[in-house]
Symmetry: C2
Subunit: 225 residues, 2 copies
Amino acid sequence: MDELRVIEIKKSVFADNEHDADLLRGELHQQGVFLLNLMSAPGSGKTTTLIQTITRLKDKLRIGVMEADIDSDVDARKMREATGVESIQLHTGGMCHLDAEMTRQGLAALDLAATDLVILENVGNLVCPAEFDTGAVRNAMILSVPEGDDKPLKYPLMFSVCDVVLINKTDVMPYFDFDLEKCTEYIRMRNPKAQVIPICAKTGEGIDTFVDWIIAEVAGWKNDN
Amino acid sequence: MDELRVIEIKKSVFADNEHDADLLRGELHQQGVFLLNLMSAPGSGKTTTLIQTITRLKDKLRIGVMEADIDSDVDARKMREATGVESIQLHTGGMCHLDAEMTRQGLAALDLAATDLVILENVGNLVCPAEFDTGAVRNAMILSVPEGDDKPLKYPLMFSVCDVVLINKTDVMPYFDFDLEKCTEYIRMRNPKAQVIPICAKTGEGIDTFVDWIIAEVAGWKNDN
């Protein structure tokens, strides 16, 4: 396997990120590339969830992964070893989020002509990434059981911008005070349309439902003019 | 009990936050008020840890608490009910961190003449709060076991600015792949002087060690001219 690619992305110079994100979305649509932005707090299981998801999805769609991180390249390395799909590491140089221009710098390093789906693993942070449109077609987020069921009350914007919320680490539910029904209610307060999918990335439980959701979203978007 | 105070803090107008933080630290030293800044990712147990800590500490020091949150007032309410100490809620209005001026706005709402120790519970975020000096004398952070032992590799700045790292939720260690020794080694790579204290905020284990650390730090600082 060739050397792992690490892209040092630069701070965006575009003042109007929303406009730039719309442009990027349009360009990707023309190229037939669906961009999915995955967000969460640190340590909620983004990489493990993606490995489980991509393992089930890679025979159906041609996938590329961008792993954003402040410094390390642990995730891109792990992703490539576990799934074999094209994975690049984006170094944000201390930045707490990605915007559309930074995402574009990462996309330029992927072979988009041979890709149907790019998954962006955003910086682990429930605040800033929610404020910056990356140009993704859909936003997904993970809330893990140990973080607590009150997070939609405390990080409202993150839950309002997401199309799907994965509730991860359901295997440790017995050891934490986590009320799934109450949590779903809080999420729906922020975002009545959000899909809520309980998963356990460690065992693979619930991942098929997320995979089906991605396949349906990609198909719907391809048919959408 | 009187009504819960919620302070809507404004974005700072000071360009030079480091200078402002030094000023604030000097003012607080003159007033004999020790400011401790507590940071962590969302859901790692800041509020529960503080409740356990303050319950043990409130007969030794006069304590005030500032709970920073984007929107809710869950934490200040919980803190006041559980400990009886003066607690105010700071609303950051979407901001991902606190700087010295924002901290000052919160301090103005506390009775500093009757306070030895103010604890600031920062916004749940491992990235941005590390970049902004709040004017605190010491920085503490919590890393919880479910987040994983690799976090010092991924969020280097947070670990380098902290004087003490509490490793919380040690009770669920058997259910997660968390290597305490490896984690401590990663923390020390970032910050050779950091104290590492394993705790379980749920059961109270290890909290006495943190309380002793605070008492020693406050005493050392009071004697420091």
